[in-house]
């Protein structure tokens, strides 16, 4: 039997519900104060430094980390609640999201103590923005083809090369990147890459914005020219980044952001059809609600596995595969159903604007953070096919 694929019905503990109330109250205040508009996901700039600090002040960044680094030592399930409430409200999380989800945990695991003491508390206070330097012009899904070199010099490394599609690099304070420190070996083509902590806004780094089809400028080209990284900014094993990547993937791939990215159009559709939907609308909405409920239950289940100290890489890949395909199709299904919404629906214009943006956003959802093809390869390996 394929015993690996169990998604036990984990429930969020009672204390999460108190936390959820606090998060909702906080977001309601922010909305009332005009920090963001929950109905407008297509804002020009999703960067909100002051909001980020206020979230930090609430203790909602680095929630699961040790207290000595500014964390709260709370559970993954509590972090889950904060993440999903922010996502559903369309809160501007860009500035802190990557640091909280991904970069902080990497530093916790691999950075020297003095760096942890310096950086982690600042992430927790919402002061720092992180980017992830993985893709290069000729190396996207094939991570191990990366060519940007880090060559040995006195007290550290000199970096030369280009990273691309780097989200938030234009506002980031730091980047966690992989650079080539040795050539790959015949036996192991994954050998030779090392993970580094990179301080942005320094000489030797040039960030060039790249326009996206949504009209936003979220991602960038980042060019390194003799950029110096000190020795204590090496994260983990030299030449051994490939060993460090896998466990992070479970965190990165199973969260609420992997199926709720376009969720707002479903809420708006329900508003538009009103209290007495026709059979077609009712059926369409019912199916979409059943699907999103199921994905959330799978995603919470993976959060429960993470909390229990497991490494559910295959399960997380399944969540991201199904979740991103769903959130990609969602605006199109909502568009189908919205075709017959009454002209008099008061939110018609809002729904149309949202659909316009969601449909433009949709293509990236199955590409960023591991393409559908890469995920299905991982699942296939888990099934014993590779």
């Amino acid at each position: 039997m394929t015993a690996a694929l169990r998604f036990d019905p984990i429930r969020l503990p009672e204390k999460c519900e108190q936390l959820r109330k606090e998060v909702r109250a906080f977001l309601a205040e922010e909305i009332a104060a005009g920090t963001f508009d929950p109905h407008a996901p297509n804002r020009e700039d999703n960067d909100a430094p002051e909001f980020s600090r206020r979230v930090g002040a609430k203790g909602w960044l680095g929630m699961t980390w040790p207290k000595k680094y500014g964390g709260q030592e709370r559970s993954f399930l509590e972090r889950y609640v904060v993440t999903e409430e922010m996502r559903v409200a369309n809160a501007p999380t860009r500035r802190f999201f990557v640091a909280d989800r991904q970069s902080g945990p990497v530093l916790l695991k691999y950075a020297p103590e003095h760096i942890k003491m310096d950086i982690l508390p600042r992430i927790c206070r919402g002061e720092l923005c992180f980017a992830i330097g993985m893709s290069e012009p000729n190396s996207g899904s094939d991570l191990f083809a990366a060519k940007t070199r880090a060559t040995r010099t006195d007290g550290g490394y000199l970096v030369n090369g280009t990273k691309i599609w780097t989200s938030s690099a234009h506002i980031a304070d730091y980047m966690i990147a992989i650079f080539r420190t040795s050539p790959p070996t015949k036996e192991n083509r994954r050998h030779g890459l090392t993970q580094f902590l990179v301080k942005m806004k320094q000489p030797g780094i040039k960030v060039n914005p790249i326009g996206q089809i949504t009209g936003q400028f979220e991602f960038n080209e980042v060019v390194f020219t003799d950029y110096f990284v000190p020795d204590d900014h090496v994260l983990g094993e030299i030449d051994g980044a490939w060993k460090q990547a896998t466990s992070e993937l479970a965190y990165e791939r199973s969260g609420p952001e992997r199926f709720l990215e376009t969720y707002y159009v479903l809420t708006e559709l329900v508003r538009a059809v009103g209290k007495n939907p026709d059979t077609r609308s009712a059926e369409g909405i019912g199916r979409l609600v059943a699907q999103v409920h199921t994905m959330r239950r799978m995603s919470v289940s993976v959060a429960g596995m993470l909390q229990a100290g497991k490494e559910p890489v295959v399960e997380a890949s399944i969540v991201k595969d199904i979740g991103t395909v769903w959130e990609q199709q969602l605006p199109h299904r909502v568009r189908d159903l919205a075709a017959f919404v009454e002209e008099t629906a008061t939110n018609r214009e809002t729904l149309e604007k949202q659909l316009d943006f969601a449909i433009k956003t949709a293509p990236k959802l199955t590409i960023q953070g591991g393409t559908t093809e890469v995920l299905r390869g991982i699942i296939a390996r888990g099934l014993g096919l590779r």
Binding site: P9, R11, A290, V292, R297, I318, A380, L383
Partner: protein, 355 residues
């Protein structure tokens, strides 16, 4: 899964493995395996899992029974285990003792109604009742002018028109004509046909999820054996990606079904919105997975999977057939959509997040 659920499920697993091997029963056209299997299941107390000792059953918990149904789905067996369990559960709601033998529930569709007449007799017609022809008794839910009743009915007193469902199992039309039940009692407050359909839907969801687990299992195994173009077909990326999708559908079905089962096992009432969301979603999502996942399992197997000699159809066709019982996915989607619309847009996320 709690330890006791494991023990009961393992008992069921062992009985099926010993007495209902898929290859063997697929070749046994006479169905000689059915009687020994039913005997063993009965001796283990499984058909009346959900009936307490004092009403003639083995008094297992809801969670233990749900675990058995997932195992039963993995074996896609053609005996009325799920139906007898559900019938026993229904009779227990009204405190009616269960007889020891095959049972099923009437009605098995949200569209059909059985009426309790003023003189206490029952009338009405129920279509697509699973295993009606094999059942000795029916557990009937009937509505009368003074509310809902639950009754035990002698199957031989009903008119049964034979029907065969998509999966090859009986799916019969049952007609009650001013029929005197063996026993009849009022249903508990708040218990109605929707509650029965939700419970039946979750039972079928667990079975579909189990069948999908088996389809994934045998498809992976087959792809690692079958050679084409000079290599195992599991080495082709197109096949790998199809199987990854099947794994996803199987996982989604299992997650939806076990979540709904857990919700019912812990619910104070089957009438609240959270149970409705969970149970309706499970039936919708599992039915969708039966179509998508089953389609992939067949595609991976090629022509051999389309033959009666091969066991695949035992799982794929039953999973498709189970979609129709106790309300199809279209029916539940409409009902869930109406509920969501009635509560309003701003209540949708709080409902989803409450689970």
């Amino acid at each position: 899964m709690a330890e006791s659920e494991n023990i009961v499920a393992e008992t069921a697993e062992k009985i099926f493995a010993d007495l209902a091997d898929a290859q063997t029963i697929n070749h046994d056209k006479q169905g000689a395996w059915k009687a020994p299997l039913w005997r063993a299941l009965t001796e283990a107390g499984l058909p009346l899992s959900w009936v307490p000792d004092h009403l003639g059953g083995s008094g297992a918990s809801l969670a233990e029974g749900f675990a058995v149904l997932n195992v039963a789905g993995r074996h896609a067996i053609a005996v009325p285990l799920a139906e007898t369990m559900l019938a026993g559960w229904l009779l227990t709601q009204a405190g009616i003792a269960s007889p020891e033998a095959e049972m099923t529930v009437v009605p098995a569709s949200p569209k059909d109604r059985i009426r309790r007449n003023a003189d206490g007799s029952l009338s009405g017609r129920a279509r697509a009742v699973p295993f009606a022809k094999q059942a000795k008794h029916f557990a009937v839910l009937a509505s009368g002018n003074d509310g809902i009743s639950i009754a035990l009915v002698d199957a031989t007193k009903c008119r049964i028109e034979t029907g065969i469902g998509l999966g090859g199992d009986h799916s019969d039309t049952v007609t009650l004509d001013k029929l005197r039940p063996v026993a009849i009692k009022p249903a508990p407050d708040g218990f109605d046909q929707t509650a029965l359909m939700l419970m039946g839907g979750v039972v079928r969801s667990l079975q579909i999820a189990g069948a999908l687990e088996s389809m994934l299992d045998i498809s992976v195994r087959y792809s690692n054996e079958r050679v084409a173009f000079e290599k195992k077909i599991s080495k082709f990326q197109a096949v790998q990606h199809n199987l990854a999708r099947l794994a996803g559908e199987s996982a989604a079905a299992l997650a939806a079904a076990t979540s709904a089962a857990d919700a019912i096992a812990h619910a104070k009432s089957l009438g609240d919105a959270a149970v409705f969301l969970e149970a309706a979603s499970a039936k919708i999502r599992c039915s969708e997975a039966a179509e998508k996942g089953g389609g992939i399992a067949h595609q991976v197997h090629g022509a051999i999977g389309f033959t009666v000699e091969h066991i695949l159809h035992r799982y794929s066709l039953r999973a498709l057939a189970w979609r129709d019982d106790f309300g199809s996915e279209s029916y539940w989607a409409v009902e869930l959509g109406k509920l969501v619309a009635d509560r309003g847009a701003d209540e949708l996320w709080p409902l989803v997040a409450s689970r």
